[in-house]
Structure formats: C-alpha cells, structure tokens
C-alpha cells in the first residue's frame, strides 16, 4: 500500500492521454495502422477485463469469446432492429454482457475452482449454437453492418473513429481495473484469490464479490465487442466466437502479469503487436502458435509475468 496517484487523477490522466493519442495518430498516413491498432486495443480491453476475474479474483474464464460475441451481436441486433448508433450499442452491449456475467456467476460461483472454468467454456458453446440458429442476426450466414459514411469530429473515415473510440474504451477499462485494484473491493477479491475460506471468515462477502467481479469483467468484454461488427462490416458466428479471443485474454495477462492493471496492458500491447506484425509479414496461422510458445516460456521462466519479473529485479537491486 504505497502512496499512489488517486483514482480520480489516474482517470483524468488516462483519458487525456487517450484523447491526445487519438488526436496525434490521426496524422499517421498509413491506413493499416488504424486497423492493427484497433485490434491491439481490443485485446487491451479483453485482457484487462479477463484479469478482473482471473487475476484479481482467481477464477479462470475460458469463455471470453462468449462475452465479446454478446457485445458484438447486441450491436448487430440493435442495428437490424432500429439502426441504433454506436452511442447506444456500446452501453446496451455492456449491460447485456454484464448481465450474462452476473448470471453465469450466480449459477456457478458457489462452486469453487475448476467448475467456473468449465461453465464459462460451456457458455461459449451454448451461445454459439444459439447465434448460429438465430435468423434475425443472420444465423450461420452472418450479417452485414454497414459503416456510416458520415464521420463526426472531422475524422477522415470510420476506421479512424473506431480506433479513437476503442482507445477511449481501453482507457476506461484500465481506469475501472485500477479503481477496483486499489479499493476495498480489490483487497476483498485478493483475499478470495488467496484463500476463500479465510476471506469469508475475515468478513468478506465472497459470493457477492465474485458475482460483482464476474459482471464487471463480462461487461468490459462485451464493450470490446460492440464496435467489432462495424470494424469488419460483416460478422458471422465463428469470427465473433473465435478461440483466439478466449486464448489471448488468458495469455496476455499471464505474460504481462496478473497482479496489477499494468500487466494485461503490457501483455496485450506486446503480444497483440507481435501478432499484427506476424500476420502481415508471415501468416495469421502463426498467431496462436506464437501465443502457445510464449505461454510455455513465461509459465516456466517468469510465472508472475513481466511485471512480476520487473518487481523481483527491483527488489534484488534495492538490497
């Protein structure tokens, strides 16, 4: 509990940095940058969200793709129903995914350990089947979501807007994660992760906190999905429920470090960027292989991730 920047100051700094970055990046002439950066930021949000339940609370969610897809398909459904703009789909998608997290948490978090992991995987399978058979959002054929031709704030095109929105949402996710981490809730979650029985005996309402953490984590993952149909203009179930979202949301916090908000950010930026580079220079087929190799390396050599490694190095040098 060192003296740190207050959460309010951090929020201001995060959003100012995000807005400044968004503004500066508009000068970049390369259009691919925006598409690549959008994907990396998407992973920043997913990894940060996953870490709230996985890193802070100690419950491994294998179904990140399900929450992501809930956000994406909320956008599709709202687009087909009322042509809702992003400003509407983002909060609604968050709410629906948050409710899904709440429900999954309520049903499974009474059980400890591995059961939640299995249930989260099952959720992804069930929802996938549901979406495949739901004609209104295109079913297995997929659905087209056209990017609006008019772009606000004088931005050059819609992908520039998506990139900027994603940047702000990533900042928002980090602010939420850090606020949780430094609050009483965060210490309660850490107590649950360390020893659930002892946490309960220390007065921590474990079930309530676990459900809260699952809901917040789900909502943020959903938020990441809401802009996705616009990004691709076309969405179908197997791309929204792609395994790579679930795997990356676990791998990135693991590689960056799960104990603080900075870990998932570092992991996602690093791994996401490497994947984007490999995709262009070699082939996207290599992406999951790279994740696998890095995971093995980190689990054996630096089990506490980059942040844990840096922390250990700093402690050695203080002595």
């Amino acid at each position: 509990m060192k003296q740190r920047m207050s959460n309010r100051t951090f929020a201001v700094v995060a959003f100012v940095v995000a807005i400044a970055l968004a503004a500066v990046c508009q000068l970049i002439p390369n259009e691919f940058f925006f598409s690549a950066a959008y994907t990396v930021l998407l992973y920043v949000i997913l990894a940060t969200a996953w870490n709230i339940l996985g890193g802070y609370t100690g419950y491994v969610n294998f179904g990140s793709a399900a929450f992501f897809a809930i956000g994406a398909y909320t956008t599709v459904a709202l687009y087909y129903a009322v042509k809702a703009p992003l400003l509407v789909t983002v909060p609604v998608g968050m709410a629906v995914a948050g409710l899904a997290g709440l429900g999954l948490g309520y049903l499974t978090l009474r059980l400890r350990g591995v059961f939640f992991a299995i249930a989260s995987l099952a959720l992804a399978v069930v929802l996938f089947t549901f979406v495949v058979n739901w004609d209104f959002v295109g079913g297995a054929r997929g659905a087209y979501v056209l990017q609006p031709t008019e772009v606000p704030f004088g931005l050059k095109n819609f992908i520039h807007l998506l990139f900027s929105v994603q940047l702000l949402m990533a900042a928002g996710a980090l602010v939420v994660a850090r606020s949780i981490e430094t609050s009483t809730i965060g210490r309660g979650l850490a107590a649950i992760r360390d020893d659930e029985l002892a946490a309960e005996a220390a007065g921590v309402p474990t079930l309530r906190l676990k459900i809260l953490s699952a809901a917040i984590s789900g909502a943020l993952m959903g938020m990441a999905g809401t802009t996705f149909p616009y990004y691709l203009s076309y969405i179908e179930p197997s791309s929204a429920f792609s395994l790579s979202y679930s795997v990356n949301s676990i791998a990135m916090p693991l590689i960056g470090g799960m104990m603080s908000w900075m870990g998932p950010l570092i992991g996602a930026v690093l791994l996401g960027t490497v994947q984007q580079i490999v995709q262009v220079t070699i082939s996207s087929a290599w992406n999951l292989l790279i994740v696998g190799v890095l995971l093995v390396l980190f689990v054996t050599l630096a089990p506490n991730g980059i942040m844990g490694w840096v922390e250990a190095w700093r402690q050695r040098h203080r002595k």
Partner: protein, 243 residues
C-alpha cells in the same frame, strides 16, 4: 435464558453422507468465559466450530449468538456479528503483507466501507503490536515462521473485533515457550472482555487456560466440568486411552 449465554448451541446434528459427525450436540457459553473443547482426533471438534462459524451448515438444531438465531447466515455475516476464528492450519492471504492481512477484516468488518475505508493501517499496527508481530508488519505473509503464522491467525481474528474468539489448535506443533507466548496472548484477550473457545490437544495448555472444559467423542459431548474433574472422568479416559 438467551441473555445469559453469548453462544447457545442446541441439539445440532451434522452428517457427512452416512457419517454422523455431530450428534445432537448442546453447548452454551457465557460472556467472558474461557472454554476448552477437547476430544480425540475425529471427535467433531472442528466440525462443531465450523458449524458455529458458518463454514459448514448443520442439518438440524439451532445456533444462537447474542440472542439471535444465526444458523442460516453465511460465514461472513457471523464474523460481522462478532464470531471470529483462527484456522487449525494457518490460512494467511499469501499475496499480502502481514499488515495487509489485517486490513481485510478491518475494512470488511470494523469499517464496512466498500469504496474507501480511510487509512486503516494504524489500527492494524496496534493489533500487531499487541500480538507481538509489529516488526513483521511489512513482511510477505508467506515468509513467516510457524509461530508467527499462528500469531497472524489470531491477529487477523482480532482485527474483526470479535465478541467470541474460537481458537482452533493455535498451539499445535509449537515449542514450549512458544505455547506460553500464545497462551499469554489469549489470556490478555480474555481480560479485555473477549469470550474464548479453545480447541487444543496440548492438555497442559487447556487445563491452565480453561475455566470449563467440554469433551467430545464420536460427535457427542461425553463430559463437561472444571478442568481438574475432567481428567479424572472415566468417560474421558476411555475416549482417549480406549481402556
């Protein structure tokens, strides 16, 4: 009747499948009392306190604390009402320092503010000083010795400001002088007005500490009374020695 006792356990039964771990157990503890709970391994001591503290739910019977039925409450609610326990095998929050271990119950029980509880460190420090762990405040809790871990268990239980403290074998595996140290702490807590139930295998400690001793065997209370009379009780001798 209810006002007379702080804790009142009435005909509590707990089964694990076909095994009856607690069979119609009655136990009443007065405010300020020092009660020793003894019995051979597997006699149901820990099961009984698990039922009292809410870790397990009893199938039948009632548990009243400070005049209120608490049998249906989750464990954290019981802690908030004033029942704190230490665990037989220490269960520290390993990612936290010793001080932070205490901050958790202080924030969740004593202050009960989810977003910002203010600076609770001085309060945690005061407890650590009382228990003799002050110089370890910043140490990660996974680097403590056995006796320090036992003290941390007690300190964390104390941080919840309990009316009743249940100490589950807080002295198991400790050396003679360390046992005295922990006993001293428990005596001081009792003098400060906290009711204490002590589960212990170290007879010398139980006999010195308790005003009254209850002996469990195979899920039933077979005997209760003053420490001196308990050791002479034929039922207790049979339970322990199998004679």
């Amino acid at each position: 009747m209810s006002d007379e006792f702080l804790l009142e356990v009435k005909s509590v039964t707990k089964r694990f499948g076909g095994f009856t771990a607690l069979d119609d157990v009655d136990l009443a503890v007065r405010p300020g009392e020092r009660l020793g709970l003894i019995g051979p391994n597997g006699s149901g001591k820990t099961t009984l306190i698990n039922c009292v503290s809410g870790t397990l739910r009893n199938e039948s019977g009632s548990i009243r604390f400070a005049g209120e039925e608490i049998g249906a409450l989750p464990a954290y609610q019981r802690t908030r009402r004033g029942i704190a326990r230490s665990f037989q095998i220490p269960r520290p929050f390993t990612s936290m320092s010793v001080l932070e271990n205490l901050v958790v119950p202080i924030e969740y029980v004593a202050h009960r503010a989810l977003l910002h509880a203010g600076d609770t460190r001085p309060e945690a420090m005061a407890i650590l000083e009382k228990i003799g762990l002050a110089e370890k405040a910043g140490t990660p809790s996974n680097r403590l010795s056995q006796v320090e871990l036992r003290k941390l268990e007690l300190a964390r239980a104390m941080a919840a400001k309990p009316k009743l403290l249940i100490s589950d074998e807080a002295m198991a595996g400790l050396a003679g002088n360390e046992v005295d140290e922990v006993l001293d702490i428990l005596f001081r807590l009792n003098e400060a007005g906290i009711t204490i139930i002590m589960i212990e295998h170290i007879m010398q400690a139980v006999m010195r500490f308790s005003q009254r001793v209850v002996c469990l065997d195979a899920g039933k209370i077979i005997c209760e009374g003053a420490p001196a009379s308990i050791v002479r009780d034929p039922n207790v001798q049979r339970a322990y020695l199998g004679a």
